[in-house]
Amino acid sequence: MANMREVWEDFKNGLILENPLLRLMIGLCSALAVSTRVENGIFLGIGATFVLVCSNIMISALRKVIPDQVRIPIFIVVIASFVTIVDLTMRAYFPAIYARLGVWVPLIVVNCIVLGRAEAFASKYPVVRSAADGLGMGIGYIGLLVVMGVIRELFGTGKILLFDKTVISLGTVFQPPTIMILFPGAFLVFGFLMAFLNWIQNRG
């Protein structure tokens, strides 16, 4: 029986210490591309978390039967099946958001976070710990998507929309610099976020 402390540690790891985006530098592509709006980030994040948790559980449960030489193709097929579930579900129930996310939903398959965790964690540890690891990584991923989304949407458009309702608005006095929601803005915001984190660490 996995003890609670270990499970908690595995969960916590993904949040900040080993945050997949800021620390491990994986899964960047989707994070930068969809973070123009908070809403996009939340939906893609939930989709990716679902895939992460399910594939971690599945692979961890099968880890003793999967032969070592062909493990990567097997992992990929497991992941691809869960991604297909997300792909079809999102298209059926949230067509507008699916249209905005575009190719990024099928691309969860090749999101390095998912395969990376399958290889580095789920193929070695028991089911409960793997599920905790997947959940932690997923929430760390959503967290950063939301932070990036808030910064870019708020300063790029002057307001934040959630389900077509304005949540925060900076008013008409603020002239939003479009660069924030354009492509270079993603790199800029992410670069400064990382520098900020480094600065805090160096100071402490």
Binding site: A33, V103, F187, N198
Partner: protein
């Protein structure tokens, strides 16, 4: 003549206007991970050109002659394409290990990781379901169009990663504020490059 022009636009659009790295943010993991050295960047670029072109061609044929007639395209394309790509990467890994051990060593973990290089899957998916670049003509690419498009994407990847590696080699010896050392300054550099590439928007009305 119009035919040739269309191929040219398709190629240029994929190469510059919708550059896969700087404009569409696909395949950034390898972009930042491997670009700190010129040599590995060139190797990775070549590997991507090879895998991407062949996998797009194979996926296109599978889509048109197997998945669509069987009416399973919509929900099986992700697993099918990814298996095709994984198999091709395995082949290429063996080929490079045999042909050039130093190159194989230099590319290290990134060679098997081409499987998860999103660019390859994105190009394969888009050669059967054009997303960004429809050119307002046919919705489906012909086989040749798919190949031209994929070549444009792959070359765009290679050119940008080589340029980026060249800049990063210079930044390594430049004085950079403490907190910005390493990845943060690389991101700022990428932002400026991306800004330059947005200048290509609307080129030839693309």
């Amino acid at each position: 003549m119009a035919e040739l022009e269309r191929y040219f636009l398709l190629f240029l659009g994929a190469l510059l206007v919708y550059n896969i790295l700087l404009i569409r943010f696909i395949a950034l993991c390898s972009f930042f991970g491997i670009s700190n050295r010129m040599e590995t960047s060139i190797g990775m670029g070549l590997a991507v050109i090879f895998v991407m072109t062949i996998s797009s061609a194979v996926s296109w044929v599978l889509w048109r002659y197997v998945l669509v007639p069987l009416k399973v395209g919509e929900f099986l394309y992700i697993p099918v394409f990814i298996v095709v790509i994984a198999a091709l990467v395995q082949l290429e890994e063996m080929a490079i290990r045999k042909a050039s051990p130093p190159l194989y060593k230099a590319m290290g973990i990134y060679l098997p990781l081409i499987t998860t290089n999103c660019a390859v899957l994105a190009a394969a998916t888009e050669s059967v379901k054009p997303g960004f670049l429809k050119l307002n003509i046919a919705y489906h690419y012909s086989f040749l169009e798919a190949i031209v498009y994929t070549l444009g994407v792959a070359l765009g990847y290679t050119i940008v990663i080589i340029m980026f590696a060249a800049i990063r080699e210079r930044i390594d010896v430049a004085p950079v504020p403490e907190s910005f050392k390493g990845y943060p300054i690389a991101f700022i550099t990428a932002a400026l490059m991306s800004l330059a590439f947005t200048g290509f928007a609307n080129l030839f009305g693309l």
